[in-house]
């Protein structure tokens, strides 16, 4: 009885505003007072459970002075040492782990060994902390100014200005709880993208639909990016489009490189978590299915339906994440996703072998004759092959977000790697 009455109460007045939330209320615990169910889910992103290709595994470690974490995710470098060859000379070859829940984002960034080998700029913070309030403070209430200022700082200094992983205020307007985009990188990136499609001055917070926002809030971070120029401005390379070919063209045009490959001297690129970009090429995007539909599906709590703020692999939550749209049994849906992933993983391995072969060849030829004129051609092939492969490798759905496109990209990567090998040998034989 009491239960029913409670339910009725809740229903009529879904949320009790216990605390006054303002545009400077950063601490999610405070927001949690008004929205305890969402907050409960949010806190559960500490869970670590592995799926066949996703989730993450909790690996115990002995905390040290420089790295006080007692639990990390499994090392991807140990799982596949070919990655070290691909990233030779870049910080990723030192430490690269499976990503885990949002709760860890700030710590994992602060303590990754990558920080110990390279001095990073404050730009990094954009996607690993609740930066909305710090940006606003730094910029004298001007978000973009604050962003620019933090980009300029060394990481260690910027680190002192933030205190939470992504928090409620990063996705929500405190007054209405409506979604909003708070990240300059996305605001500018999507504006450039829309401009390339003929839509000028796109203002995401004013012009996006609610359903689009259910993707865009994730697209704030789950995207390919680079640091532009000496100001280390965070830029999403979308000015020519979201397809890999457009992104490649963009980087080629500006002759951007992330680093010089240690063993081959190729001007290499590192792709990073292009979930938004790949999703965009898939059938779910085309059908209007947003990130939140699968990663934050509605769930019933008492008499209410709320969004599951335990953001995680949908394969750990198939009944809510998939079954409202797909009436297949859970096991079957899992098998479908895994069939797609296995197929991707298989061609990814073919592509990885091809790339390693090219790198070995390049190394060998360079050692023999570093002025060989085929080197430049082969290095360009490596640059391309590597970026294409990494685009699928670094994307975290193992192809699920756009199965056919993922294989297409890998197919092209294989072509680049092997053509690089052929080019090297052609010059050697003169044929």
């Amino acid at each position: 009885l009491i239960n029913i009455m409670e339910h009725k109460q809740e229903a009529r007045n879904p949320f009790f505003r216990v605390v006054d939330l303002t545009d400077t209320t950063e601490d999610p615990a405070l927001w949690g007072k008004n929205f305890p169910m969402q907050y409960d889910g949010y806190k559960r992103t500490v869970d670590q459970i592995r799926t066949r290709h996703g989730g993450s595994e909790a690996i115990a470690r002995t905390p040290t002075q420089v790295d006080p974490r007692s639990v990390v995710a499994q090392s991807r470098l140990e799982e596949d040492p070919r990655l070290k060859t691909m990233w030779a000379g870049y910080a990723f070859a030192v430490d690269f782990r499976e990503e885990r829940g949002h709760a860890y984002m700030l710590d994992d960034q602060t303590f990754t060994e990558r920080q110990q080998v390279v001095k990073q700029p404050g730009t990094c913070m954009h996607c690993h902390a609740s930066v909305y309030v710090p940006y606003k403070n730094l910029g004298g209430r001007d978000l973009i100014k604050g962003f620019e200022k933090m980009n300029h700082m060394p990481y260690s200094e910027a680190r002192k200005l933030v205190s939470h992983p992504v928090a409620c205020i990063d996705c929500h307007d405190p007054a209405t709880m409506a979604l909003r985009v708070t990240r300059p990188g996305f605001i500018e990136g999507i504006r450039a993208l829309k401009a390339s499609q003929g839509i000028q001055n796109y203002d995401v917070n004013a012009m996006a639909t609610r359903q689009e926002m259910r993707t865009y809030v994730c697209g704030q971070c789950h995207v390919e990016y680079y640091f532009k120029g000496p100001e280390k401005r965070l830029v999403y390379p979308w000015a020519k489009g979201l397809k890999i070919d457009s992104i490649m063209a963009y980087y080629d045009e500006t002759e951007f490189k992330d680093w010089t490959h240690a063993e081959t001297k190729a001007p290499a690129l590192k792709a990073q978590h292009p979930e938004f970009e790949l999703w965009n090429q898939g059938i779910h995007a085309r059908s209007g299915v947003a990130c939140a539909d699968c990663h934050m599906p509605y769930k019933r709590e008492g008499a209410l339906k709320i969004s599951d703020h335990h953001v995680r692999s949908p394969l750990l939550n198939i009944n809510r994440a998939c079954q409202t749209c797909h009436k297949w049994p859970e096991e079957e849906l899992k098998a479908r996703a895994e069939t797609i992933q296995e197929r991707t993983f298989r061609l990814r391995n073919v592509a990885m072998d091809a790339l390693v072969d090219l790198i070995n060849d390049l190394k060998m030829v360079r050692t023999a004759d570093s002025t060989n004129s085929a080197l430049a051609t082969a290095q360009q092939y490596q640059r391309k092959a590597q970026f294409y492969l990494d685009f699928v490798e670094a994307e975290n759905s193992t192809g699920f977000h756009a199965p056919q496109e993922a294989e297409r990209i890998l197919g092209e990567s294989i072509n680049f790697s092997r053509k690089g090998q052929v080019a090297l040998r052609t010059l050697l034989t003169g044929k």
Binding site: K8, A11, R12, P14, F15, T176, M177, A178, T209, R210, Q211, G288, D293, Y298, R300, A303, L304, K305, I306, S307, T324, C325, K327
Partner: protein
């Protein structure tokens, strides 16, 4: 003047025919079924059989009839919708001139969207409240099959 009356005559004939043919269809094809709430009545048109069969097996079979989802609340709007749909469907059925498979039209889709909220307002308060009178999410994007696949 002359033109006008010709048009009037012409129109009367057309309207008369329409009403005549319409009512014939209406009666012969048990179009009166539009006026009841009995789902079996909708299935008087074999063309509604698929939805009827689907509805029989649906989660809403014991809780909602066709009209709960396909007519707006309130006596007048309800019968207006019925009249409009009844006329056009009878007409379409008789002439055989309609898109197959049958597609719900925007107006009726909105009626259905409202119908979901008619029964489920409370449970969706939480996901709708933040958006006030603003843009609402479409229930059908995830639940289009609850009434019938």
């Amino acid at each position: 003047m002359k033109i006008q009356s010709t048009v009037t005559v012409f129109l009367s004939i057309v309207v008369g025919l329409a009403i005549g043919v319409g009512s014939y269809t209406f009666i012969y094809a048990k179009g009166g079924s539009y006026l009841t709430n009995d789902p079996a009545a909708c299935a008087n048109c074999h063309i509604m059989n698929e939805q009827y069969d689907g509805w029989l097996k649906s989660s809403h079979h014991s809780v909602a009839v066709c009209n709960d989802c396909h007519t707006p609340p309130g006596f007048v709007p309800k019968y207006l919708t019925k009249a409009e749909n009844g006329f056009w469907h009878s007409f379409a059925f008789t002439s055989g001139d309609f898109h197959e498979p049958i597609q719900i039209k925007e107006r009726n889709r909105e009626v259905a969207e409202k119908a979901c909220r008619k029964c489920h307002q409370e449970i969706v308060d939480a996901i709708e409240a933040p958006h006030g009178e603003g843009e609402q999410i479409s229930c059908l994007q995830c639940h289009r099959e609850v009434g019938h696949p």
